[in-house]
Amino acid sequence: MTRPERLLTVEEMCLHIDTYRGTVRAVDGVTFHVDQGESVGIVGESGSGKSMTALSLMRFTPLAGRFTAGSAMFQGRDLLKLSEREMRKIRGKDISMVFQDPMTFLNPLIRIGDQIGEVLVEHEGLSRRAAFNRAVEVLRQVRIPSPEDVAAQYPHQLSGGMRQRALIAMAIIGAPSLLIADEPTTALDVTVQAQIIELLRGVKEKHGLSLLMITHDLGIVAHVCDRVYVVYAGRIMEEAGVFEVFETPRHPYTTALLSSITYDEESGDGIGYIEGTVPSLIDPPEGCRFHTRCPAAMPVCRRLQPPRTRVSETQSVYCWLYEEAQDE
C-alpha cells in the first residue's frame, strides 16, 4: 500500500482567546492530519472547538485570539505563522471553505456569478466577464439547473439548497487542494441535506481534493469521511477510521456520542444522552476534559491529561483506560 502524501499536518495547535471573563482555550493542543484526496471528519458537540479549529486553519480567528503553541503545516508552510498577505494568496486558491448558513454567507447585493467569479478575478487576474463565464461553468458542475440564468440572479432569488450549491461553486472555482466544510448542511432541509452531501462527495472525487468536514452529525461522517477525529472541549478524544468509529469506539465519549444517535433494538432503550454539559473553556477541568461526565472515570483522569494510545493502524485514543494495555 503506497502511502498517500500528507497535505495538512496540525500539531499541538492551541488557540487562546482573551475575553473580559478570562482566557478561552478554544483549541487546546489539537493534533491531526489530512492526506491528499482524503476526507477527514472532525466531530463534536456545540462549543467543542471544532469550528474554531477550522477557522484557525483559515486564520479567521477573533482579534483577541492568539496561537500560543503548535503548528499547521500545509504544503511546506506553517499556516499559523504566515503573514496576512501570504494568507490571502492561500485563501480561495489553495484552501477554501464552505460555511454553515447559505442564507447569510452570500452578499445580498452582488449577482451570484460575480460573487463566484471574484475568486478568479482576485487570484488569476481574469476580467469580470471571463470570470463570470467560468462561474457559469462551475455552477453547471454543482448541478444547478440553467446556470446562465442563476449566475445573473441575486441571492434572494434562490432557495437555500441552491445558495449552498452556489457557495460550493465559489469554494471550488479556484481549484483548491483542501476544502473545509463547516457544518455545511445544518441550516438546510433534510431532503436537501442529502443532496448537498452527495454533491460534496462528488466534487471531492472529481477534483481529487481533500475534504475536512466539520460536523456534529455522525450520519454525515459515515457517508463522506474516510477518517474521523472526535473532539471535546477543545481537545481530541479519539481518532479512527470511519468503520472503527462505529464498530469499535474506544473512548467513553465516542461511545456516549454514538448512543445519543442510535436506538438499541434489543434492549428497547430509547435515544441516549450524555449527563451534564460541555465544560467552560475558560476554566476547563484538569486531567482528561471528559472526566466530569465520564461513566468510567478513574482517579488518574482527574489529575493527568491522558496520552495518545494507538490501538490499531488507524485508531488512537486519548484515554487512561487504554494506557495499561499499551504498557503490557
Binding site: 479567521f60 485563501r91 480561495g92 448558513d101 471574484e118 479556484g174
Partner: protein, 327 residues
C-alpha cells in the same frame, strides 16, 4: 435578468405614482401654514401712511378678501400652470425671482454635498477597517465637533480667521466688484467666494455622512458574507469597498435624502451669514418683509426639490439593492 428588470421597472412606476399626491399635499400644507400666520399683507404692502381705502383696494386686487377655499383653489390652479404669483416686495413674478437665485444655491449645495459624501465615506472606510484605533478616534472626535457646532457660528469663525485675519478669502458675496464677467477668471472668482460658505455648510453633513457610514460599515463587517469575501482571499480594502460599502450605502443614501430638508434650512443660515445671493437668503428676506407669495413660492419649489431628491435617492437605493424593488 428579465425578472429583476421587470420588478425594477414596476418599482420605479409605483414610486413615481406616489409623487402626485405628495405634491398636492405639499401645496395644501404650504397654503394653510401661511394663512395661519399673523399679519395682513395688504396693510404691509400699502405702507405706513396708507388709508383704509387703499388697503381695501389692494385686498381686492390680490384676491385677499375672497373666502379661503376660493383663494386655495385658484392658488392650486395657478401652481399647476407654473404661476407662483407676484411678489409684493420685488414687484416681479415669483417664479422668475426664485429661478434667478436657484443656480447660486445649487452651486453651494452641490459642492458641499459632493465634498461631504466623498470625504465622509472615505474617512468612514478608513475608520471602520480598524475601529477604536488612533485614526478612528481622531476622526470620530472631529466629526462629533463638526456635528455639534452651530452652522452660523462656524461660518462667522471662518470669516474671522480666513477673511478678516488671514485675508485668504472674501468675507461674503458671490462675486468681486471688479470681477471679470466671463470665462475661467469668473469661475475662479466664484470659486474663491465659494470656499468658506461651502466649508461651513459641509461640516455638518460631512460629519453626518461619516458617522452614518462608519456605524453601518462596522455593523456590516460583522456579517457572515464578509467572511465569505475574506475566504476568497480579498484584501481588507477590497472587502470594504466591494462588499461592505455597497450594503452600507443603501441606508446612508436614504437618510441623506431625507436630510435634504435640513440642508435647505442650513442654506438659509449659511447664505445669510456669507451674504450668498441664493434661495436661502431670499427665503429669509421674504419672511422679514412678509412677502407671502414669494415665501409660498419658495416653499413650493423647495418642497418639489425635496420630493425630487428623495425620489432620486430611492431610485439609487433600488439600483444598488435589488431586494427593494423585489419586496
Amino acid at each position: 435578468m428579465s425578472g429583476s428588470f421587470v420588478s425594477r421597472l414596476s418599482y420605479i412606476l409605483r414610486r413615481l405614482a406616489q409623487v402626485a399626491p405628495m405634491i398636492l399635499a405639499v401645496v395644501t400644507i404650504n397654503f394653510l401654514l401661511i394663512n395661519l400666520a399673523p399679519g395682513d399683507p395688504a396693510t404691509l404692502m400699502a405702507g405706513d401712511f396708507a388709508d383704509l381705502e387703499t388697503i381695501e383696494r389692494l385686498r381686492e386686487e390680490f384676491g385677499l378678501n375672497e373666502p379661503l377655499h376660493v383663494q386655495f383653489s385658484s392658488y392650486v390652479w395657478k401652481v399647476l400652470n407654473f404661476d407662483l404669483g407676484y411678489s409684493y416686495q420685488f414687484r416681479a413674478p415669483v417664479l422668475d425671482i426664485v429661478l434667478a437665485r436657484l443656480p447660486n444655491t445649487l452651486i453651494l449645495l452641490f459642492f458641499s454635498f459632493i465634498l461631504s459624501m466623498i470625504l465622509g465615506i472615505l474617512l468612514a472606510a478608513v475608520s471602520a477597517r480598524r475601529p477604536n484605533r488612533a485614526f478612528d478616534n481622531t476622526a470620530s472626535s472631529i466629526a462629533m465637533l463638526g456635528y455639534c457646532l452651530p452652522m452660523f457660528w462656524l461660518g462667522m469663525m471662518l470669516i474671522l480667521i480666513f477673511s478678516s485675519t488671514l485675508r485668504w478669502f472674501p468675507t461674503g458675496g458671490m462675486y468681486s466688484l471688479r470681477a471679470p464677467s466671463e470665462g475661467w477668471p469668473r469661475m475662479l472668482d466664484i470659486g474663491r467666494h465659494l470656499v468658506l460658505p461651502a466649508l461651513a455648510y459641509a461640516a455638518y453633513f460631512l460629519a453626518m455622512a461619516y458617522r452614518l457610514t462608519r456605524a453601518k460599515l462596522i455593523e456590516i463587517l460583522r456579517e457572515d458574507y464578509i467572511r465569505t469575501a475574506r475566504m476568497k482571499g480579498l484584501s481588507d480594502w477590497s472587502v470594504i469597498f466591494r462588499h461592505a460599502l455597497r450594503n452600507a450605502l443603501v441606508p446612508v443614501i436614504a437618510v441623506m435624502g431625507l436630510d435634504f430638508g435640513v440642508m435647505i434650512g442650513g442654506a438659509v443660515v449659511v447664505e445669510t451669514v456669507f451674504s450668498w445671493p441664493g434661495v436661502g437668503r431670499l427665503m429669509y428676506e421674504s419672511i422679514l418683509s412678509r412677502d407671502y407669495p414669494l415665501l409660498l413660492g419658495i416653499f413650493v419649489i423647495v418642497s418639489f426639490g425635496i420630493i425630487l431628491v428623495n425620489l432620486i435617492a430611492d431610485l439609487i437605493c433600488a439600483m444598488i439593492d435589488p431586494r427593494i424593488a423585489y419586496g
